[in-house]
């Protein structure tokens, strides 16, 4: 037997193959990923304490919306979403009931509604944003745990862990998610969680000139809680079983 390998040689060569095949690329990746974890850590040590007694809710009054899309612009400015790309954390849809049926549009997310059109008939605007679903399909399908729902009810994206597979984008029934053109990871409305945690309102709520958007804590005596308790509200696509947390006042049947 000319080329018999000794056990030792076998183990050595096996280890070499393993080292080359698995350890190097995988270990290298692990180190690469870890290097970026340490930055930006917040001083909060236990988020459970922050979340205690909080459940955020959002109310949209479709009767009030005038389709000015200040929210769309402010959102992009606040959250570093490129203004010239067709991706939106929030957008405004317009519904017009015509003789031909319902016409829906949202040119450039509502920033570019053309002027001077037929203004009679049943016509209204519906602002859309992430519904922060209690039973969120996006969280369910994320293969790496890069998107999650916080204890106070906001779904966030871990942009250092997201692999950019876009399964969450497919899974969202509301079209609220997109792949960020610059970071190449999933992005979505967070109800401006970074603002809310600093005691501010979401940017879209701040800039809405007519008060069509309202945000607050459902566990306290807040305006949103009072609206939900007294008015007739509903979420979008209840049949999907996602339990959306954006409540619409005056939502028409034709709104998809």
């Amino acid at each position: 037997m000319k080329k018999e390998i000794s056990r030792r040689a076998f183990i050595v060569s096996t280890c070499k193959i393993l080292a080359a095949g698995v350890l190097m690329p995988a270990g290298g990746l692990a180190v690469l990923e870890k290097a970026s974890f340490a930055e930006n850590g917040s001083e909060v040590t236990d988020w459970r304490k922050v979340w205690e007694g909080k459940e955020w809710g959002f109310v949209v009054d479709t009767h009030k919306c005038i389709g000015c899309a200040r929210c769309v612009k402010a959102c992009k400015q606040e959250n570093h979403v490129p203004l010239d790309k067709e991706v939106y954390r929030t957008w405004v849809e317009r519904y017009r009931e015509t003789a031909l049926g319902v016409e829906i549009d949202s040119p450039n997310g509502g920033l570019d509604f053309p002027p001077l059109e037929e203004t009679t008939g049943k016509q209204f605007f519906v602002p859309k944003l992430c519904n922060q679903c209690k039973n969120a399909p996006c969280v369910q399908v994320c293969p790496v745990g890069a998107t999650y729902r916080t204890g106070d009810g906001v779904i966030l994206v871990d942009d250092k862990r997201c692999v950019g597979c876009r399964y969450c984008i497919q899974a969202c029934p509301y079209g609220a998610r997109f792949l960020h053109p610059e970071t190449h990871v999933a992005d979505k409305c967070t109800w401006c969680y970074h603002r809310v945690m600093k005691g501010m309102e979401p940017a879209c709520v701040t800039v809405c000139p007519v008060g069509a958007r309202k945000f607050g804590n459902l566990n306290e005596h807040s305006e949103v809680r009072e609206i939900i308790e007294t008015e007739r509200v509903r979420g979008l696509k209840p049949e999907k079983g996602t339990k959306p947390m954006v409540f619409y006042i005056g939502l028409d049947e034709v709104v998809m």
């Binding site: 037997m1 076998f10 096996t14 393993l18 698995v22 350890l23 995988a26 270990g27 692990a30 990923e33 870890k34 974890f37 930055e39 850590g41 917040s42 001083e43 909060v44 988020w47 009030k64 005038i66 389709g67 000015c68 899309a69 200040r70 402010a74 400015q77 606040e78 317009r94 519904y95 509604f113 002027p115 001077l116 059109e117 203004t119 209204f124 605007f125 745990g145 999650y148 916080t150 204890g151 966030l156 994206v157 871990d158 942009d159 250092k160 862990r161 967070t190 969680y193 970074h194 603002r195 945690m197 600093k198 005691g199 501010m200 701040t206 800039v207 809405c208 000139p209 007519v210 008060g211």
Partner: protein, 166 residues
């Protein structure tokens, strides 16, 4: 080779033992690398990286808290606005993100042009924008292309330049 013909080879020479050892090695290496690769804060609050919450919260704010921030310095303008139609609005609805200006007033004040593009985003007549909700105009028809700010003071929109109430 011949010496094993017909008999069983020593344990460590057997095919399935060899390949089994190789697999075991792969598994051990995989397990080790995996353990090293799971971020330390993963699983703190759920099946995600706990540090990610802090990172999300630490993101930079562009829009300031609201008009209350502006009021501190711009008392006069604030008083004007509070008396008129735009009183419910936040300054940043028109002026844009102001957090830099608030924290450092010397840095570029968020000035805006009162033109058709800005005012029109609310007051341009478009389908869906009904008169009950908001006063709308057809800009060209209304002013013949003259900039809105030439006649209207956005802070007191119905007071024209000559003091005439429109």
């Amino acid at each position: 080779m011949d010496k094993w013909t017909g008999g069983e080879s020593p344990f460590f020479q057997r095919a399935y033992v060899r390949v089994g050892m190789l697999l075991l090695g792969v598994l051990v290496v995989f397990g080790t690398v995996r353990q090293l690769s799971i971020p330390p804060s993963f699983g703190e609050y759920g099946r995600y990286r706990g540090d990610s919450i802090g990172e999300n919260v630490a993101r930079k704010v562009s829009f300031a808290l609201g008009s209350d921030d502006c009021k501190k310095c711009h008392q006069n303008v604030f008083q004007l606005v509070m008396q008129a139609e735009h009183k419910g609005m936040d300054c940043q609805s028109c002026h844009g993100p102001a957090v830099n200006h608030v924290s450092n007033p010397a840095s570029g004040a968020p000035k805006v042009k009162g033109d058709e593009e800005l005012c029109g985003s609310c007051h341009r007549q478009i389908a869906g924008r009904t008169e009950e909700l908001i006063t709308t105009v057809m800009p060209l028809w209304h002013s013949g292309g003259v900039e809105c700010g030439k006649c209207h003071d956005p802070h007191q929109p119905r007071n024209a330049i000559g003091g005439r109430t429109l």
